[in-house]
């Protein structure tokens, strides 16, 4: 039970949503549009990218004495639009012995939609039925056809650029025109074509023509600083602030949720939270609760929502809470490309991300790992800032100083390219989260303890990434600086959580025996409780999850609206 006495307020909202990222923002937008009175709780502070008070767009590096270097609450650089990080003071998490796991949490309006590459890929038909196809993991209780109308609607509402390619498991969408490749991307594309690696325009949630009152991209390359013109997707500016114009959305920031409260009948009655500004325990009451605090934070809230009706935590009669969690597999390789030395200067900023990418292009039946990965590319002539061309000693001259060194920086700038592999992990029973029996955060809320294990299915896949990227660089006439990581080094696999695509832990399913949620992301054990973040995911796919979180949240919101109208909720 909460420490202190939550102060009940007289208002009963139609819906309380916890979390303002992609899933929470979409639910708030759709439910207020349908007429519901909604309260949205966010653990961090207010944020509005439109304002120079928040956005650092178009700053010069010399505008700050730090030159863009990281700060404690901006680990990706002082101008990154996301407040949060791998560690948040007073909000620890723990790891089982031997576990390597990193957990990035955002604490701000819009959450981690302020911190991502806007890569927006639909899951394909195969991604919902992997167990049927290869016997591993589980099938989703829904198919691509069930979610397709919502992907279409997300495309129209939020906006995305890309190209229709007719690839079977990388479905097309309703795309704005993609930007033409940068100089090094032309070279990569040509190289990939020669190697029969599919290479197509990127699919990013950045608009290239006006949409719903938002201006198109102006190509400053600084999406991660918070776009003042709202030309890219962030939940705060594209969903939540517009939803507030309905007059039906109440936003509570600095509201750290402790638990979902339930009544004697076991149904949800609202959420208990700590007002971080005063330290007071408070309560909001609602007829329906939607959790969208991020897959793992929502699982934690549910585990902490214990009652006599829900002794193992809420939505956990199956015992699957915290289980079947996955992250994207990842590894990166960079190389020096001699033919790009002394590239003629031009504006290569473009959008804030790659203009091309490589979807999974091979047949796993001919490989020693079961699932695919996509490839992201980087390089170019971006704005110089902290960290500029670090490791100059890796270039052919091997280091140096003085006039010769100064010339090296000039000629080698823009002659490096990099590849990042992002692949699908299979859920396994050694990778899960549970409540730490002892450690609590500064609010007195028990914290998560992580257990993590990669399997050969992931290691072999990452090995294949490394080999592919090295082959690409060699084919470009380039030179890779780092030696091929060994098996003992895990072939360079990133820690669990490090790619910031954690999913599962509150998975949906066809049966209440082995899932927490039904096909509508509604808790089997509590019919007025829904989850609208990455928690319901049954499998990871080799795609970034945000577009599917948005589509699922939109679908869940439609279901809630329909049930309300029918009087069922």
């Amino acid at each position: 039970m909460p420490q202190g006495t939550p102060r009940a307020q007289s208002t009963v909202y139609d819906v309380a949503i916890v979390g303002s990222g992609a899933g929470g923002g979409m639910a708030a937008h759709q439910l207020t549009k349908a007429g519901a009175r909604v309260v949205l709780l966010e653990a961090g502070g207010y944020w509005d990218n439109s304002s120079a008070q928040y956005s650092a767009m178009l700053k010069n590096p010399w505008d700050s004495p730090r030159r863009g270097a990281s700060t404690p609450d901006r680990p990706f650089g002082e101008w990154d639009a996301c407040i949060g990080g791998w560690q948040i003071p007073g909000e620890p998490y723990t790891k089982a012995e031997g576990t390597k796991f990193d957990w990035w949490r955002g604490r701000m309006l819009g959450g981690r939609t302020n911190h991502w590459g806007r890569i927006s890929l639909r899951f394909g038909p195969d991604d919902f039925r992997r167990k049927t196809l290869d016997g591993l993991g589980d099938d989703w209780p829904i198919t691509y056809d069930d979610i397709k109308p919502y992907y279409d609607e997300v495309d129209r509402l939020v906006g995305i650029f890309g190209s229709n390619e007719g690839l079977r498991n990388d479905p097309d969408g309703i795309f704005h025109a993609p930007p033409a490749p940068r100089y090094y991307e032309h070279l990569i594309k040509r190289t990939a074509d020669r190697m029969d690696i599919t290479c197509i325009p990127a699919r990013l949630s950045i608009i290239t023509k006006p949409l719903n009152g938002r201006s198109p991209c102006h190509y400053c390359g600084q999406c991660n600083r918070g776009c003042m013109t709202n030309s890219n997707f962030s939940s705060g500016n594209v969903l939540i602030l517009p939803a507030m114009k309905t007059g039906r959305l109440t936003l509570l920031t600095d509201a750290m949720v402790r638990e979902v409260t339930t009544g004697p009948d076991g149904r949800a009655t609202g959420v208990a939270y700590i007002d971080k500004r005063t330290g007071e325990d408070k309560l909001v009451r609602a007829r329906i609760v939607v959790l969208a605090a991020s897959a793992l934070e929502s699982a934690r809230i549910l585990m902490n929502s214990k009652s006599s009706r829900h002794p193992q935590g809420l939505a956990n009669s199956s015992g699957v809470l915290g289980k079947y969690i996955t992250d994207t597999t990842g590894t990166d390789v960079a190389g020096f490309i001699p033919s790009l030395v002394d590239v003629p200067r031009h504006n290569a900023d473009g959008v804030g991300g790659g203009h091309i990418y490589m979807p999974w292009w091979l047949d796993n039946r001919k490989l020693d790992f079961p699932r695919g990965y996509h490839i992201e590319v980087w390089g170019g002539l971006g704005q110089p800032s902290y960290g500029f061309m670090g490791g100059i000693q890796n270039y052919p001259e091997g280091g140096g100083y003085g006039a010769g060194l100064k010339q090296q920086y000039r000629k080698y700038w823009g002659a490096t390219v990099g590849f990042s592999g992002r692949g699908e992990m299979i859920p396994n029973d050694k990778s899960f989260a549970e409540l730490d029996p002892e450690v609590k955060d500064r609010f007195g809320i028990p914290v998560l303890k992580f257990h993590w294990e990669w399997r050969d299915s992931e290691y072999n896949q990452v090995k294949h990434m490394q080999e592919t990227f090295r082959a690409l660089i060699a084919e470009m006439g380039g030179e890779v600086w780092s030696p091929m990581p060994t098996k003992e080094q895990g072939y360079g696999i990133a820690n669990g959580g490090a790619i910031i695509h954690e999913l599962g832990g509150i998975r949906m399913g066809a049966s209440e025996r082995d899932s927490a949620l039904n096909a509508n992301c509604q808790a089997w054990d509590c019919d007025n409780l829904f989850v609208a973040d990455g928690g319901p995911f049954v499998s990871q796919a080799d795609k970034n999850p945000t577009w599917t979180i948005l589509a699922l949240s939109m679908r869940t919101s439609a279901y809630i609206t329909q049930q309300r109208k029918a009087g069922a909720l």
């Binding site: 590096p61 010399w62 700060t71 100089y183 102006h218 390359g221 003042m228 900023d349 110089p384």
Partner: protein, 215 residues
């Protein structure tokens, strides 16, 4: 910069074809940004001109480092300019304010402060071992002997590995500070950080260069 040049610069920065929708407030901010940049550049030629036409500039009050001792400050300024000296194209690391940038960063990060102080100490110790005196009071040839020993990691002797590691990081930090300065970015020829109405892709001349280079 005269008024005409300034107007041209503004027009160049803000050229938006008719029919493109870009938020008016963005243009306002970009205009303010550009005006500020133009304003700042306008002062540069004056400083470069001879003293005859201008009253002698008041010497700026000397910067007082917060994280370095007086001796360390002398050494760090010297070392930064050995890494990035003035040449025909641009100024040196100290011209670009790199030591002041380092002083700021050290104030932000205790680990970096310890690393820097240990590294500067290593430089002095190595000079004393070789020449009986610290880096600052060595001759240019003596300093270069030490730098040559540590600036090329693959050729460096095992005895100077600590110096190699320090210098790798010192070089990185100097480059961070220099190339992210106004002087450094101009030297690089960075073109960007501005609203572009229509992304035209890679310019034809660059594509032609790419074709020639990557056959």
């Amino acid at each position: 910069m005269n008024e005409m040049n300034r107007r041209e610069a503004m027009q160049h920065l803000l050229a938006i074809p008719a029919g493109m929708a870009i938020a008016p407030d963005l243009l306002d901010r970009a205009a303010a940004h550009a005006a500020e940049a133009v304003e700042q550049h306008a002062h540069e030629p004056q400083q470069a001109q001879g003293a005859a036409a201008q009253p002698a500039p008041q010497p700026r009050p000397a910067y007082r480092p917060k994280q370095f001792t007086t001796d360390e400050w002398r050494l760090v300024r010297l070392l930064a300019d050995y890494v990035i000296p003035r040449d025909a194209r641009s100024g040196s690391a100290t011209d670009a304010g790199v030591p002041e940038f380092m002083d700021f960063m050290l104030g932000e990060n205790a680990g970096m402060r310890t690393w820097m102080k240990n590294g500067l100490g290593w430089m002095n110790a190595e000079c004393r071992r070789r020449f009986g005196t610290g880096f600052v009071s060595c001759t240019d040839a003596q300093r270069r002997e030490v730098l040559d020993a540590i600036a090329y990691p693959k050729k460096a002797a095992p005895e100077v590995q600590a110096g190699v590691q320090f210098f790798n990081s010192f070089r990185n930090l100097t480059a961070s500070g220099f190339w992210s300065s106004r002087i450094g970015a101009a030297d690089l020829g960075y073109i960007g950080n501005r609203p572009v109405a229509q992304w035209e892709g890679t310019p034809k001349a660059v594509m032609a260069w790419l074709e020639r280079n990557t056959k």
